[in-house]
Symmetry: C2
Subunit: 450 residues, 2 copies
């Protein structure tokens, strides 16, 4: 890759670490954005990380670094820090990020940290921790600008200057009634455009897009994306405003969900393994290959069983790879298209039969195309038996069934609320392998052994 | 899925369309957010879409609908509309969205539209079209708030009220010098917090994160995500401010790139096919299966060639599926982890050997584990020859090579600036199939035919 400022930064920091040029290091560390430092941290040893971390003067920068670090690195660093220091860093951070970090710590440690934090902050964090991890409540930020609808623009500006000086992203002003119920929304922009004495209710929008605390984070993210808004208010069952989910969190949700889906589809677990040790990566990936192993052994028994009936097995063996390969690949296409279509909302479970029928049709067409090509190769190789017909039919069969299974299984999973992404991994490909081999030998028995 | 407001909306609209209850329809269409309408449009026929579209009163809503529609649907609707109407809708839209839509139209149509648009608007659009589609320049919004650094907070607020009333998302104020060069940034929030007479230069930040017009959109998106900002300024080679890329576009970029990567990995093309016709989907997917077909035929020739030397071929045939399956699956794991790691920035091409070596090690360990299991099954089935040893070694070989190829190829592609996602599709799985089969029979020849 051409320009890579992080590489330059990493090289400089490594050189200075080697030379123990501490005053230089201190200067660089405090001049660099914590998000960039977090990238450099990935390539450093724990002792180097701790050394640099201790050099950061600003607790707010330390907080940003905490949020940006890999889960493992964060735990390692935190294990070496004094509880008082951890608490003073966390107190500078938005409560949603604190809840996120505290959720990762061992129970004992998180309990003592919450005890040491200022009552107001720890209450907020504990409230957030009481919601499900992946729900709107679990990811929302409890700091937002909420004003009564009688507030004038001038008063609102004053409130932002004083009372709400801590709010991370105050671009929306939410109007609430006496019970804290959400009744309207306006923006910072409106505030500077209207006359100072105008009350909020005169310029707020009353049709507010909001989400409930128990909504799944992926749904929340889709809503923010669909309406191109910068934050969505989170309300409880009685429409009381509880927090907001901001667009920066939405980006993280989409990226994380895409990664999880991709890894699940490939049958490589759900969590990122590239930064984990060889041993831990191996342990995560091992069980996902088991399906493939069992499936292969089943295929072996099927072939052995047919072997008794077939003395021309040697001819047939050579075509096993192509039949399995064609079925496997079209099955992967179908399941990937369905899973991603469901994830992006471009396919819907209510179109069940429409989607499955379409995939089956495509599977048949492609099966006929490739069945003809491969059948011709087979016939040309063994002219004395109708091998072309056998192999060609097996390819059509394998590809049609693969497209059917590849689309049917994720649609079924989605319908019964299991994540369809797990349906594209080794489980589906292995079933397709077994079915392909079975039909191949079944067809061969019928045609060649009469 | 439980709550689905779009399903209710779709059912209502369908019922009203059947009944030809036009005044009801008109009310619903104009009350519904255009983003929701676009979802409903997917399930309607062209004539129904046109009927609803004509009912929308507000050109701005029509514009939002234009941006949200599927590419195909948009082209179909536009083909039926009068040029004057298209122009008056486009003139209401942000220039970056207009450029995006115009880029999809046939040349002739886009030329006449640009001619009919107001000079100022069409100039902006033409400027945007001159940048590469996937670069910061091609996706930036040319409407932003740029002020000289001597401007006071009070003057800035007045400018936002008048001159910049059209700017879509004015949360950042950019400070420029007399040549239009970017010298600082501040926010709408700062503006309401400082005293009215304070000049911009006293409260702006001078370290501005910016991107150049030719930066790839994925890089731009990563920068916005890394620094948790709502927009990033785009500058030309001499640091003159040209536009901004806003966070809503960044979300779209991430979602689109994730989808493209997933489809490429599965060897299912790069574009979404689930909304396309069976015929077009088939055409898109056909070539991706060709690699698999050719690979399978090569595997066939390899097996046929060994056949001459091997009379025990029948025993061996039964294990082809399991050896291919294990290799294929671990290869998919490795390549997926590497491709996604590179896409999210958690892996870097400069760690080339580290990554490849790690994958190879994991491949060997997992190969020994599964090789032992499968070898034991093989030995139990054919006790009179050392088949267990042959099959077991072939599994170890196949899985190690698959992990090696699966990580090496995407890393190589990334290094020579080809999208690594194409390296996980049928090409890699097919090569792994061929290599696996070759080594299997080679090992068998050495052990069994001595």
């Amino acid at each position: 890759m051409p320009r890579d400022p992080n590489k330059i930064l990493l090289d400089t920091i490594r050189r200075l670490l080697r030379r123990e040029a501490n005053s230089h290091l201190r200067k660089i560390v405090n001049k660099t954005h914590a998000a960039d430092l977090s990238v450099v941290f990935r390539s450093l040893s724990l002792s180097e990380q701790l050394k640099l971390f201790a050099m950061i003067k600003d607790n707010e920068q330390k907080g940003i670094l905490f949020s940006e670090l890999e889960a493992d690195t964060f735990l390692e660093i935190v294990a070496e820090l004094d509880l008082n220091e951890i608490v003073s860093i966390l107190e500078q951070m938005p409560s949603d990020d604190v809840a996120d970090l505290i959720g990762r710590l061992p129970d004992e440690k998180s309990a003592s940290i919450l005890e040491m934090m200022q009552k107001e902050d720890s209450d907020e964090v504990e409230d957030l921790l009481s919601y499900g991890d992946d729900t709107a409540g679990g990811i929302m930020n409890p700091d937002y600008v909420a004003l009564r609808e009688e507030t004038t623009a001038k008063e609102a500006i004053e409130a932002i200057q004083k009372e709400y000086a801590d709010v991370e992203m105050p671009f929306y002003l939410y109007a609430v009634d006496e019970f804290g119920k959400l009744v309207g929304v306006s923006s910072l922009r409106q505030l500077v455009v209207v006359a100072p004495q105008t009350p909020l209710k005169n310029f707020m929008a009353t049709e507010v897009i909001s989400v409930q605390t128990d909504m799944d984070q992926e749904e929340v993210a889709k809503i923010v994306a669909r309406y191109d808004i910068l934050a969505v208010p989170v309300v409880d069952a009685s429409n009381r405003l509880m927090g907001i989910v901001t667009v920066d969190d939405v980006i993280d949700i989409f990226r994380r969900e895409a990664t999880e889906d991709i890894l699940k589809m490939a049958g490589a677990g759900e969590e990122f393994v590239e930064t984990k040790s060889i041993w831990r990566s191996t342990k995560i990936r091992l069980p996902w290959l088991f399906a493939s192993c069992v499936g292969g052994i089943i295929a072996f028994f099927i072939i052995s069983w047919f072997e008794v009936n077939l003395n021309r097995i040697a001819y047939l063996a050579a075509f096993i790879p192509v039949i399995m390969g064609m079925g496997g690949n079209i099955g992967t296409q179908s399941s990937t298209i369905v899973v991603r279509g469901l994830a992006t909302g471009r396919l819907n479970v209510r179109d069940f039969w429409h989607v499955v029928f379409k995939e089956l049709t495509i599977g048949c067409i492609l099966g006929v195309v490739y069945g003809t090509i491969i059948g011709m190769v087979a016939q040309a190789s063994y002219t004395n038996i109708p091998l072309g017909l056998v192999v060609g039919s097996a390819v059509v069969c394998s590809m049609s069934i693969a497209a059917l299974v590849g689309s049917l299984v994720p649609m079924l999973f989605a319908r019964i609320n299991i994540d369809p992404a797990v349906a594209t991994g080794p489980f589906v490909t292995t079933s397709i392998d077994i079915i392909s081999v079975f039909f191949y030998f079944q067809i061969a028995t019928s045609f060649l052994n009469l």
